[in-house]
């Protein structure tokens, strides 16, 4: 460990990208399609990541924050993000127009172990903004449909207006090669054609081979406990139950420490963890 002269690029240096398209998914969540400006990097960056990874989006003067990638590497060219307006950075992002610049670093994080999931039945449970990383995995599985067994996608939202990608899922429901169930907690306008109630009420439709199933949950923290109980009732092993976690991240590379839990840096050892990790590492959820 003596002389260290790495000729390396600075991984803190953001990459310029352009907003090519944006539209509102709900009242406070907006969909952004983004293209990296450097033509030489576009294809590599957008085709080699894993579903479940995230990127650091940054705006000069405001700072940087992590966002899950909601697009799939099986459709390269663009990155897609769902962004909820909650803080200073996201408020500024909402002021931007198409063709404006944003800056990216990444992709970071472990992502879902897609190779381990191949040949297995898949069971996805999404709640609220949790649909963002799960959409990436879902589209990946649909684009590579023959690599996976049965495919169940359960999605809960507070009201029909709060459901991310509502129209996209309405269309996907038509497909015969996978089961998509949607539910809402409340239906104030009384025109919701599908299930009502919490997302766990959709488990009655699920028919998978539990010993050969990868189950994935992503949503608000309160949801995990109940969904995981359902997974366990089905008899899915701890190591095949995956969840993606939210933490404060400033660097994305296991350095700044702000996402650390026990000895795990959520930004590099996560954000995808198994149920065994969660039981073993206190404080993860």
């Amino acid at each position: 460990m003596h002389e260290v002269f790495y000729k390396q690029e600075n991984p803190y240096m953001p990459e310029r990208a352009r907003i090519v398209r944006k539209y509102d998914l709900t009242e406070d969540v907006r969909f952004f399609q983004v293209r990296v400006c450097d033509q030489e990097k576009v294809f590599t960056l957008t085709s080699t990541y894993s579903p479940g990874q995230f990127m650091m989006i940054s705006l000069p003067f405001v700072g940087e924050a992590p966002f899950s990638i909601t697009s799939t590497p099986s459709r390269p060219g663009l990155f897609e993000f769902c962004i909820r307006k909650v803080g200073r950075l996201t408020s500024r992002l909402f002021e931007l127009e198409e063709n404006d610049f944003i800056w990216l670093r990444g992709p970071f994080g472990n992502g879902f172990p897609v190779e381990n999931m191949m040949g297995k039945d898949l069971l996805f449970v999404a709640g609220g903004l949790g649909a963002a990383p799960l959409r990436s995995l879902l589209l990946y599985a649909l684009d590579n449909r023959d690599l996976f067994g049965k495919l169940f996608y359960l999605h809960g939202a507070r009201t029909p207006r709060d459901m991310l990608f509502r129209e996209e899922f309405f269309q996907l429901k038509q497909r015969r090669d996978f089961q998509c169930y949607l539910t809402v907690d409340e239906d104030p306008e009384e025109n919701w054609p599908f299930d009502k109630g919490v997302v766990t009420s959709l488990f009655k439709y699920v028919k998978v081979n539990p010993k050969n199933t990868a189950a994935v949950v992503c949503g608000p923290p309160v949801m995990y406990k109940y969904v995981v109980q359902e997974f366990m009732k089905l008899g899915i092993p701890d190591a095949n139950i995956y969840m993606t976690l939210e933490r404060k991240m400033k660097c994305g590379m296991g350095k700044c420490g702000q996402c650390v839990v026990g000895h795990k840096y959520v930004c590099v050892d996560g954000p995808v963890f198994t149920l065994w990790d969660v039981k073993n590492i206190k404080g993860l959820i």
């Binding site: 790495y6 390396q8 991984p11 803080g87 700044c256 702000q258 000895h263």
Partner: protein
Amino acid sequence: MRLFKIKKQNLIPFLRGLEGFGELWGPVKKGNNFVYVRAKPEDFDLTALRTIIPAKKFFLPSKFTSLKFRDNRWEDNYRPRKRVIFGLHPCEIHALNIYHKFYTRLYPDPYYLRSKAATLVVGLSCIPDEHCFCYATGTSTVNEGFDLFLTDLGDRFLVWVGSPRGEDSLKLVEKFLEEATQEDISRYVSWRKKRDASFKLKVDLDGMPEIVSFSYDSPIWEKMGNACLSCGTCTMVCPTCTCFDLEDEYDLKRDEMKRDRFWYSCVFREYSMVAGGHNFREARSERLKLWYTHKLVGFMSEYGSPACTGCGRCEVSCPVGINVISVVRALRNERSTALWVKMEVENA
């Protein structure tokens, strides 16, 4: 093994000679403490044990501009100055080795690597005081991580060369070097015996990783949390604490944006707080627990050794006495006179 010696009276010209590599920095007295500053070699205090801020400041300064943004382009202008840092004791060098492992894994940190390449580390032997416990952390001697290491044998210094760059740097001071003889070695052996016998602070770190892990739900964290001021001093003075934060600012005079990087602390309230206000570690006890779990367990699983090098800085710096010694004692159900223990007793 490359070993030389120099006469004691030649130390100052020896250090002056090394200045050919870069600026000379070393420990100088500040009040009742010490700080590493750029100074003349005759001003260095050879009795200095622990400086207020450890040598990590040479590798990533407490605050620096990591990136600039001008005309829609990001620039990285971080260029550390070349430095010789003198007077680093084994605990300090062990900490730098941990720093090195940490900053070169996965995504090597370019700022660290540049500083590392610009710094010549000249170690110095020491005799422990009542706060040193490096024998308990296994860091009282050092085999790598320095360029040169000097052992004080009274009228002479043994000069141990630890790196090819150290070997190169000796060309600057060749005229002071003498071959080390068998007599010097036996002197060193008796010095070692004397040094090893002079540790006063007794603490047993054996079994700490699992004891800390098993004590996750122990009430002592809550007690500690009641006394913790969340001032962050422990993390700033800890030679192996690495956490930082990034913040953008606009320099209106120069019309450029700067992304500043500065030391941050896991005991600060906003450390685990995400946009929207949710805080994953709202309680002070949770944040302290993280600190000790990370130091005594986390590094163990990751790198095979705890992230404590026994330098004693937290011991002399925490105003309410929360430090590795008092926490380890509390976890082992041993008596402790730490202020936080007293506060708990009196408030109960």
